[in-house]
Symmetry: C2
Subunit: 198 residues, 2 copies
């Protein structure tokens, strides 16, 4: 028998439960029944909050995207030399990823079968393109090495940042904190791990 509790969910707390289930089972593999069981409230109580699981997906993805696109509006992303703006965006993207870990994880895993999923993928590509543009500008300024193709560099940069979702867990004892991880990403990507030989 499933324990049914009183529905004391806020939109945010219900969303947090849904995102956890989406990340565990995949969005496609999640039914309203799964959400109801994980939340411990009836399906009709969930329908009291939202129209269905696609609305939960849209809200969760919006939260991740708002965080990411917000970075591009920050002074550090808008003012100054392109290379400095690129480093700012890199650091802040890693930070937002860790601060909004389940939401960004969901965004990165979505594979478009519904309108909401396709929209999520398109917005994610748009973010990547804006960062790629910044990278091209920094290259044009002569601040980036020319022997790595800009498109390839963008992919490797995002590959490094996005891989954080695979292992970063906030508050895990003895592990690196978010600040240290973000700083390590910036140092590794822009200055490299090797001590300069000259």
């Amino acid at each position: 028998m499933t324990m049914v509790k009183r529905d004391t969910y806020t939109p945010e707390s219900l969303l947090a439960v849904a995102v956890e289930v989406f990340n565990e089972r995949g969005y496609d593999g999640t039914s309203m029944e799964h959400l109801s069981r994980a939340a411990g409230i009836s399906k009709s109580s969930i329908y009291h909050h939202v129209k269905g699981k696609e609305e939960l997906l849209r809200r969760a993805i919006s939260r991740a995207l708002d965080g990411l696109f917000g970075i591009l509006q920050e002074p550090g992303a808008r003012d100054g030399r392109a290379i400095e703006r690129l480093e700012h965006v890199t650091r802040r993207t890693a930070e937002v990823l860790m601060a909004e870990l389940p939401y960004v994880t969901l965004l990165l895993r979505v594979r478009g079968n519904t309108d909401t999923e396709r929209w999520a993928m398109e917005r994610r590509r748009e973010f990547d393109h804006q960062v790629a543009d910044l990278l091209k500008r920094a290259a044009a300024d002569g601040d980036l090495r020319t022997d790595v193709d800009a498109r390839l560099a963008t992919r490797l940069l995002f590959g490094m940042i996005n891989s954080i979702v695979e292992w970063y867990r906030p508050g895990r004892g003895g592990a690196a904190g978010a600040d240290e991880v973000a700083e390590a990403v910036v140092r590794t990507a822009f200055a490299g791990l090797r001590v300069p030989t000259n």
Copy 2:
């Protein structure tokens, strides 16, 4: 009606079909029925080749692991300064990943529910540990920057390399070739994207 063709499969060509299905549907989500349909031969024909889907998984994972562990036996991985060996292993890991793309993709996606999956994850961790040891040795030699933690550096390095499976497709026109990608990984990870300021 499913078209059934004559069974002209070799162990290798049947494995290639199975790995494609595993990567598409996930290993858990793949049944012998799915494999039979994808291969266009009956289930009993498949059983003529292998005991079941777990044997196909084990063979596919072995192929990826043989490629990866083989790197550690190469002269470039065994002789010389740790930093040079680490760069060799990084380049070759990226190359093996691209040469054995579907097999390494499967290895990276496996999440242990069966003995074979747990074995795969353990062997993968063992490979990561051997690379992490090399990284620590290079740091002890004074060849790696000390302001990025060795464990974190290992994770970011593999994050960058492993992300290649998300977008690299061999022979895609106009895209970077495997040599260029492997070289870009080594340059980005060890020398960084930024032009040195001094």
